[in-house]
């Protein structure tokens, strides 16, 4: 006698909670050969706005946490992913049609990327900032600070788990909070990653994940006045120049589309930081 399995309801991840789309809409997610897997939430403009509100609310706390603290939280994500390795391998096999070794390689790479980025959280300031020897009696120090709320279009063709690590980790390790539009065709890993995030000491609202149509949601995020930056990593097949034009209205920082999952890099970390330079007089003694 075989046990009847309990399928999972795949929902959005906003402000640390798992709501359905306020629109009530879902879309069908299937395997490469067309077998039904799940009904994922089809996020709406309102869901995107709610996610931005959640991200903004979380920004003050997350950006003022210590680098050591943020590093530990990111490392904790890797720990929990490691514990759920098999689940992710199964999901990637089903949604992306990967062989087991290929799916395993992607999960392992994603975990290693989280670990690599975790280690940067208390170091990037030393590498990206510096003291400035100015001509006068002033203490003068430049340090990178998080840009704010970052909207991210996650990689869309394959790499549905690794792609998330490679765009979320570099953005949040500096203290940014993010609204991520997951891979449209393979959103299940993103929802399962949300469950990992929800249980790994990431404060609610730091990472918000929407499933659905990037073409539908991205313009609202690109135009949202409370979003400071947009990462178009997975927007290569959208009208991404239009998104960049919309983003220019509020002078957002924009990263252009990339092929596949962006490799781990310090540049990705620094891309969504702002250099703050503080001068202070020194008294003449």
């Amino acid at each position: 006698m075989t046990r009847l399995a309990i399928p999972k309801t795949y929902k959005l991840y906003i402000g640390g909670k798992f709501p359905r789309s306020e629109s009530g809409r879902t879309y069908e997610v299937s395997t490469k050969d067309g077998r039904f897997l799940a009904n994922a939430s089809l996020a709406s403009r309102k869901d995107a706005r709610d996610a931005v509100v959640a991200a903004r609310s979380a920004f003050a706390g997350w950006s003022s946490a210590t680098g050591y603290n943020r590093g530990q939280v990111l490392y904790r994500i890797a720990e929990l992913l490691e514990g759920r390795r098999d689940q992710f391998v199964d999901e990637l096999s089903a949604t992306e049609g990967l062989t087991k070794p290929a799916a395993t390689a992607q999960v392992d790479t994603a975990i290693d990327a989280w670990v690599w980025y975790a280690g940067w959280a208390d170091k990037y300031v030393q590498v990206a900032g510096n003291a400035n020897a100015v001509s006068g009696p002033y203490f003068n120090l430049s340090t990178p600070e998080p840009t704010g709320v970052v909207a991210i279009i996650a990689p869309q063709s394959g790499n549905s788990l690794l792609g998330l690590a490679s765009v979320i980790a570099p953005a949040i390790l500096t203290g940014n909070t993010v609204v991520v539009v997951a891979s449209e065709s393979a959103p299940l890993a993103a929802v399962s990653l949300s469950e990992v995030l929800a249980t790994s000491d990431v404060p609610g609202g730091v990472v918000n994940i929407l499933t659905g149509s990037p073409a539908e949601i991205a313009p609202w995020l690109a135009g949202h006045a409370d979003v400071n930056a947009i990462d178009l990593a997975g927007a290569g097949l959208l009208d991404w120049v239009d998104l960049q034009i919309i983003a220019a209205d509020t002078l957002k920082r924009v990263l252009a589309p990339e092929d596949g999952a962006p490799p781990p890099s310090l540049e990705r970390i620094v891309a969504f930081t702002e250099t703050k330079t503080v001068w202070h007089t020194k008294s003449l003694i």
Partner: protein
Amino acid sequence: MTDREKPAPSRFLDYAPAPESTSILHLKPSYGLFIDGEFVDGHGAPFTTISPATEQPIAEIANADSSDVDVAVAAARSAYTRTWSRLSGADRGKYLFRIARLVQERARELSVAESLDNGKPIRESRDVDVPLVAAWFFYYAGWADKLDYAGLGPNPRSLGVAAQVIPWNFPLLMLAWKVAPALAAGNTVVIKPAETTPLSALIFAEILQQADLPAGVVNIITGAGNTGEALVNHPDVNKVAFTGSTAVGRAIAKSVAGTGKKVTLELGGKAANIVFDDAPIDQAIEGIVNGIFFNQGHVCCAGSRLLVQENIHEDVVDRLKSRLMTLRLGDPLDKNTDIGAINSREQLERIRQLSDIGEKEGADRWTAPCKIPDKGFWFAPTIFDNVSTSSTIAREEVFGPVLSVLTFRTPAEAIAKANNTPYGLSAGIWSDKGSKILAVADGLRAGVIWANTFNRFDPASPFGGFKESGYGREGGRHGLAAYLESAGWASPQAISTTGSTSRKKATS
């Protein structure tokens, strides 16, 4: 008795006129475009640059149309390919050192030209603008052969041709901010000075000739907004650097979307200058004055919103008014002048309009009693007290000698009010308590924060904004990143090996 009716400052503050002589200038009646090392005629209708203090014409200036822009960009491209990108960093540095020295040698001449054309007091052009120009070239000269240490990985690459558009408030200094790092990094340049202040850039072109800088490495084209637009949108430029209004910055960000051009934007600001009740008050008063009345308030990082702690509000405003009554407004070339001329009739009109709106919206207006010259564009130092956070003059950049005064009670309120703006360029903090300063500085969303000082600039110190004040930094090591691209770091080994089948390298 209102302040306006108080007696004028006592006689001892009256000085005999002490104008700087203009005999040091060797101005030509007309200036061409500086393209490929030579002055050439432009194809647009020439325009006249005037002194905003007297409205007298200074010289006729060529106007570059799009065909001139094409020629200038082609000259820069050719100089990039054939000359500049092939020079060693050490040799590029030597040219920049030469330029720094030539600027120092001709410093007085440049200062006089700047004050004449821009309207800023000679005290400022002589003691701030031009010395910083020389310092900027000297600083970046030394970087030219040390780019491996700029923090972008080994062998960072220059971008190519940089299109640069600069404003009228610090004409030559903005040129230095743009040209020095671009050249040090190995790029060539086409730069457009502002329409109302082209003079110092054209004298600078003569300096480039004296430095024997290879032809085409720096091209200076004069004209109005459409010249700048043609330059920024030119398909053969690789980099766009702009300093100016947020509105134009937005238009540029749109026009370069999808082109792959690297962009840095240095835009508007509405800086909060926060004065706590434990501030060194005499220094704070000087800092407030310097913060908003330096360069007639034509400063993107001007401390235009004074946030003063409620319990010292009256005292600070009273002291401020009596200090402002000692400021001398008048001839920019006079060595005793504190407040020069407003740069243009257009800008004066904007300052007047915004001030009128401030008054209509209920803020208390006070204007320093000073004699306004008959000719020229002038605006006396003005304070608006009891300004609300929603008031237009608390939100919009006035870009003139107009200070809005708001109050706060707690540090948290000060931070919230300071950050309550789409801008994020600069801020000031006045307090004698170090721990408070550092905590407030942490909370401010601004790119440059001055504690117990204001409006300090240095080539070693990065400058640039958060939010809608633009992106990118000018100055310091960070300023080099605007003109270089990384040739790539080695990928983290453990990650790149395990994931090799499913991952692609980023295209560079």
